[in-house]
Amino acid sequence: MGEVVVVTSGKGGVGKTTAVANLGVGLATLGKKKVALVDTDIGLRNLDVVMGLENRIVYDLVDVVEGTCRLRQALIKDKRYEGLYLMPAAQTRDKNAVTPEQMRKLCADLRSEFDYVLIDCPAGIEQGFRNAVAGAQRAIVVTTPEVSAVRDADRIIGLMEADELDDIKLIVNRMRMHMVKRGDMMDLEDIREILSVPVIGVVPEDEVIVVSTNRGEPAILEGKARASQAYQNITRRLMGEEVPLMPLEARNGMVGALRRLIGLDKA
């Protein structure tokens, strides 16, 4: 029996879809797990393009819940990564095309076949959010170090706890260490303290994410890039491994590269 993990945030554009894509590839490759990624952002699907699988869509989530096709038929096999599958969202329907009850059933079916089911949640706290969390046992909340994003994270954490979904972990995304250092960005401690939720990882702002999204190839396997290393660490923590958080000091340039090379700094 696998686990269903919803990736959610409240606020849009903070990196949920990017996280789902990278963790999906991470679990399938580093963890050799069987993984299904489910895009529940009906009407605004994106996980397909971030994964580079947009040309292979035939059926979608709504087709499955409405019985137009079988579960298997809507799961696109990612040929690059053994064990990784994507169920795209419907693009021409709206969030009300699916109910929380149908999502619970779908998640239960997927759990019996996959080790991990990652649910990409739409922004907001309406029906789309309700659908996305309905069948999940665990949640990863993505936020950025900004007042509005953390505030929204607090709201949805409250809503999930009220729904008895209380295995909740936090990803702080797009951290800019040099800004933290000069005092112009909230640091991890501030955010951790305000939300009082365990942190599963910090992902730095990194151009590698933009480049890999352009190509439709998740960045997690891009060797040395800091965001890639961060996602590799989060993948391990998600599987239950103890991996210490990366030091938050940004060490750029030669000195940083040297320190990493001789093992003084973990990326």
């Binding site: 170090p145 505030r151 607090d154 409250g158 800004m179 933290v180 112009d184 909230m186 501030d190 305000i194």
Partner: protein
């Protein structure tokens, strides 16, 4: 301007400002308890108090008020009679 202020030690860093504003707004948000939860809490508080005193439930009010980053439970509960012995 921000830079000048900082040089002369007049302003906090924007990261600190953000975290202070965030703390306040989160406290306010969390204080928006649903009416059902509020009712349930009110009943529980009055039931507990009944062990010690007889109160005027009809004229009691229990509310949460939030301002300036502090949140208070404000209770106004007229006591009719204290019970003997239990205090």
């Amino acid at each position: 301007m921000a830079l000048l202020n900082r040089i002369f030690g007049r302003s906090e860093s924007s990261g600190k400002v953000a975290s202070e504003r965030l703390r306040k707004v989160v406290v306010q948000d969390r204080a928006n308890v649903s009416p059902q939860t509020m009712d349930q809490m009110r009943t529980q508080v009055l039931n507990k108090l009944a062990e010690y005193m007889e109160v005027d439930e009809k004229n009691s009010s229990i509310t949460i008020s939030a301002n300036e980053g502090s949140v208070n439970l404000v209770a106004n509960i007229p006591i009719r009679r204290m019970k003997r012995g239990k205090h």
